[in-house]
Point group: C2
Chain length 334, copies 2
């Protein structure tokens, strides 16, 4: 399998997006986000997205020339119009603006609309935690999970990510989708003619199924049953209603070039914990980290991500031959 250094992979992604009509800034920021996700082991948000992002640039479903802008502003909250572009430049703008506001006011929030797939959710809040800030991000996605008691997919798998700074170590990063399993795993099972584990999905009549075809015609099971479904509803409200974005049941695919822009939303919430806790926060986090380290077998969420990142820096990224060829062809290089 071809091996790419992180720099090579970033350049490749960037050149595909420029070739397909993205501005230099949008291509660079978006390419870097995908490669960072791939490096962290989040392959569903990595290199595999390049062809579908390219297809959406080509048809104009994603506006490659988008310039995200702050359009409603309060002293510690603002709304961003992502201009039907990729999500990452809008999130970059949000993070830049939120950082000084959270430090000044103790808390700050941003709601982003007319946006798109935001990739590895944890990476966004990790950046804020590296500045000493607690942060949440919520994002909705095209319909996959039913309203509780219903049968049709209506809500996204709706990731929640949260990061908390620690004095002498990397931030704690929590990043989870609200479905039991990723839809990509069901699609893979279908391609390979395999069954899926019970508990992953429901058929179109709302019954549990192990058949990937029936699962894809039905809905994704929310993690934790009714509780996970309630959290998915919470994320629809925080991501779409709060920003004026589209709900999961309104959004077009994040994979194909056809249809209108998905116009999804995200929101970020950022708190300056050192200030708010009267200085207690970092001592408290130290006690928590020690307690986890002292428990046999216990592990922090997200640590495999850091191990993958180190490995990818040293060894580069291995890419399947078909995907590599497809990406190369999109640069016009062959």
């Amino acid at each position: 399998m071809p091996i790419l250094s992180l720099d090579e992979a970033r350049s490749l992604a960037e050149s595909v997006f420029i070739k397909c009509g993205a501005s230099a800034d949008n291509a660079r920021i978006t390419g870097a986000a995908l490669i960072d996700a791939e490096a962290d082991g989040q392959k569903g948000h990595g290199l595999s997205r390049i062809p579908s992002y390219a297809a959406q640039l080509k048809t104009g479903k994603v506006n490659g020339a988008a310039i995200p802008s702050v359009i409603v502003r309060f002293s510690s909250a603002f709304r961003i119009d992502a201009d039907s572009g990729f999500a990452y430049p809008a999130i970059d703008l949000a993070i830049r603006e939120l950082t000084p506001l959270a430090r000044e006011h103790g808390v700050a929030t941003a709601a982003i609309f007319r946006s798109h797939h935001f990739g590895q959710a944890g990476a966004h809040v990790e950046r804020l935690a590296e500045k000493g800030l607690l942060a949440f991000i919520f994002g909705n996605s095209p319909k996959g999970i039913a309203f509780w008691g219903g049968k049709n997919p209506m809500m996204g798998t709706n990731p929640i990510a949260f990061a908390a700074p620690v004095e002498d170590g990397p931030p704690v990063v929590i990043d989870l989708a609200l479905s039991v399993a990723a839809r990509g795993k069901i699609i893979a099972a279908q391609k390979n003619n395999e069954t899926i584990p019970e508990g992953w999905a429901l058929d179109k009549d709302g019954n549990p199924t192990t058949d990937p075809v029936a699962a894809l015609e039905g809905s994704m099971a929310p993690m934790g049953g009714a509780k996970g479904s309630a959290l998915a509803l919470m994320v629809e409200i925080l991501a779409a209603a709060l920003s004026g974005g589209q709900f999961g049941f309104e959004a077009s695919s994040l994979f194909t070039g056809d249809g209108p822009p998905p116009a999804l939303g995200h929101s970020l919430l950022v708190i300056d914990p050192g200030k708010l806790s009267g200085g207690a926060y970092f001592e408290r986090m130290g006690v928590l980290m020690e307690a986890i380290a002292a428990e046999e077998g216990a592990r922090l969420p997200g640590v495999s991500r850091l191990a993958n990142r180190e490995k990818s820096k040293k060894e580069g990224l291995s890419v399947s031959v078909p995907l590599y060829k497809e990406i190369l062809s999109l640069t016009g290089a062959n």
Copy 2:
């Protein structure tokens, strides 16, 4: 069974707490919160708590004369010292202060420490949503759930509640603990010599168990497995580290009069969605409510709570004879 009107029940709770040393304000606010929870069908946070709250007042584990105060203040964030009193007066203060701040700044947050059992979490955020605000509350509780991969209970069952205003109806209220089941149900099974369903709890070696005795020596299963455990960790950070409060593994019981104050923490986050969304929020929520209503079988979280509330207003609260006698004896009335 004795039937009490809501007013009678509130007076009774209030008089018990005054008799046991609470200030008039603390007795009134705390009594009302417990009766409201009972009326909503949340019996675990209702009348059954009166004797244990009384025991904690008598020993001084809860400071009946507590005066919660804002001790760190930024323009849209503040920290409250609950003064080792009941949680409700501190949360009342937080809600009073948060409301104008969220309207002015777009977002506001409060972190509360040296606090106690905060009862029906959804009721607190519902009050904010009735003012047109989106709100979260997070609270930690004494240890019940293990760190992921560990065996000992270390984190609380750590409720998350969220409420969102709707233009022409009651707010959407989401209120969930992060354990699969409430500990009270396991205690009830133990008392009745019954087994518990698989999936509720783990024994002290971390294996699933249906034996309530083994469950109480072990830990509560987090809803959704690793994802629920990660959310419980998030709540420990938001409730305890952010406020300078105590973690689940440090806190004393919320039921017995012995030991030091539990000194738990809570945090609230409040957003003015009408403003932030540029006016889109209420239209968007209307679309979401219509979509849920149109799905056969689908239901909003928390609707049974409102039905219970109406029923309790009309029919009063039925109390078991032993509990009623115990409460009466605490007022010194018999």
